[in-house]
Symmetry: C2
Subunit: 363 residues, 2 copies
């Protein structure tokens, strides 16, 4: 617990008296308090025992440092080592939107295992803030930088990172050979459809997003591949498109119902929420009248829907862990890959009560 301070009108009378909170304590202050010179203080702090400083002087200096709360600038350390135990984490919106925070959680956990701490800059897409933050990270000799986006899409790695170990997490740059770690949208799409197929469904709808992103292509491919593997013919009449949110799910409901499917793969959990509402408004029950699968396993939503929503996990936490691992590997081995590496991580199924098990003998 912090101790109380009092506005200090007696400054100068007692060097050991605490300064007002907003003063920065300098080497000179420490030297004055210890009754010695700045160079002596510096020698003590750098553990230069060869400098033959008396034990009493050393003790006085250490006491002054402690009582004044002096923090040395990391300059000396930075100069000697060339880097610090920081990893810069640059993101657009992960820290401020309620979606992918687990990327930071996994990254920090893995960083800490290696004694590193993440310094996060959340730019909200402001390019100036991004440039300024990266410049500061480089000024402070971070070990490396994780560049991450709140949803999976393509980016351009900022030029300023050209000479710094960098790993992209949840995004990739097709024009750069920076290592990237992304979710495997295709495997995720497969997992979604397979939950329904394994439960005995054969007429399965797919509602894609209207937003252009890797998910739009990948999850659709996965859905089609899963059908193909199960010997189910694909049918354009069962493939729809809607806004990737609640309204989109609500809007597409009439078409879903007209199509005669028994189960539907929604682009994401929010779309599934809207579909739930629309079905309920029509007096229909999930999963009895319609089986529904979402995507994301979005915290606060999926598990808490009525009934809890079957969905696919976006492996945010694991993306964070893997990103830091790759970064530390590149730094340690000073390896530089002339060809880019993209690590795609599995998006596993999360089976809940929104899927009806079809008794095949009744079909």
């Amino acid at each position: 617990m912090a101790k109380g301070h009092h506005a200090d009108s007696s400054m100068g009378s007692s060097p050991m008296e605490r300064k007002p909170r907003s003063s920065i304590v300098t080497l000179k202050d420490v030297a004055a308090a210890a009754g010695t010179s700045v160079s002596t203080v510096s020698l003590v702090m750098n553990h230069k025992s060869e400098a033959r400083i008396s034990k009493e002087t050393v003790a006085k200096v250490l006491k002054a440092i402690d009582e004044l709360g002096y923090r040395p600038n990391s300059l000396a350390q930075g100069l000697v080592r060339g880097s610090s135990n920081f990893i810069g984490f640059v993101t657009d919106l992960i820290a401020t939107t309620p979606f992918a925070g687990q990327i930071i959680s996994g990254a920090q956990k893995e960083a800490w295992r290696h004694g590193c701490v993440l310094l996060i800059a959340n730019t909200e897409g402001n390019e100036q803030i991004e440039r300024y933050a990266i410049a500061k990270f480089l000024d402070h000799k971070v070990k490396g930088v994780i560049y991450s986006t709140w949803y999976h899409h393509e980016v351009s790695v900022p030029d300023e990172l050209e000479h710094t170990p960098t790993v992209l997490v949840n995004c990739s740059d097709p024009n750069s050979n920076v290592t990237s770690v992304i979710p495997d949208e295709r495997r995720g799409g497969m997992a979604a459809a397979q939950m329904l197929i394994n439960a005995g469904h054969r007429r399965i709808a797919f509602v894609n997003t209207t937003t252009d992103a890797p998910a739009r292509v990948g999850r659709r491919e996965g859905y089609l591949y899963a059908l193909h593997e199960a010997g189910i013919h694909e049918d354009n009449a069962l493939m729809f498109e809607a806004e990737p949110d609640q309204q989109g799910g609500k809007d597409i409901a009439p078409e879903i119902l007209r199509s005669g499917v028994t189960g539907v793969c929604c682009h994401n959990d929010r779309m599934a929420m809207g579909l739930y509402d629309a079905l309920r408004d029509r007096g229909l029950k999930i999963p009895e009248n319609m089986s529904v699968v979402g995507f994301d396993n979005q915290e606060v939503i999926a598990a808490n829907m009525s009934p809890p929503l079957s969905t696919v996990q976006l492996p945010h936490y694991e993306l964070g862990i893997q990103g830091v691992n790759l970064l530390l590997e590149e730094i340690d081995t000073r390896k530089h890959y002339a060809f880019s590496r993209t690590i795609s991580m599995d998006c596993p199924p999360v089976f809940r009560d929104s899927i009806r098990i079809v008794n095949s003998s009744l079909m």
Copy 2:
């Protein structure tokens, strides 16, 4: 866009060739590339024009700096100025939980207005990470520190912050005189009840949280005060308690229904979600059979419920803005308040479709 690199086996032959990404460029490298000495490079970088360096040399040095991508350690700047344009933002879970991210958003926005960038450390309650991050922030001479928690509760300001300008956001320390900015739980509780009272309701339930926190005391006070102001007698039989989540809302539903109230103030939106489910399971309609008010205005939930939930806004974004403002004020004025300041920010009502307007002539 980043340009491609190739594993560099020809290092040393051409100083201007880009090094592999994971090498740190030092002053020595710049000096070698510019064909001059380290001290000359240093003088150029610190704009020491009195040092009489020829324009050609200056140009060579600047060119070498640019082509090698050299980033000076902030040491020189740190030494001269004593601080940087960083504000340290230490939090337990704001960046990784889907609840209070707007605190960071507001704080960064306000910081940027003043040319500052937030460096965020998200500790997830790990005391060692917290200590390490704070130590590093101090080492790097941050202007000051925002210490913030994902939900409003009491904390102990870490001792390490004793000599650094610090503001608490969304938390407070009763044993310290560090300035804090918190939500006004009592005004929020009043706002919730007043929405129902203004719509004509007189029998209003209050469901408190079982979790010990300022909200538990404050919102209840606000509810009682609103009733009192409206001339409605308080009634213990209409005051309940439940876990502050969906299950809690579901569990308390039978008692709410038995009490004969026409409206209910839930501790938070998640509890209201559970109450919605329970009422719907019984074939009841909101707001026709029961008016419901939540608290938080939690992104992804409140506005998207069916019907959209009336609630109270936790002013996360504004807390962030105010926190940074107070911090910069304390730094600029070097003011230190011997007595603590606590700024409580209003929690305004958000009126949506979950409240039935009672026609008083029918009562």
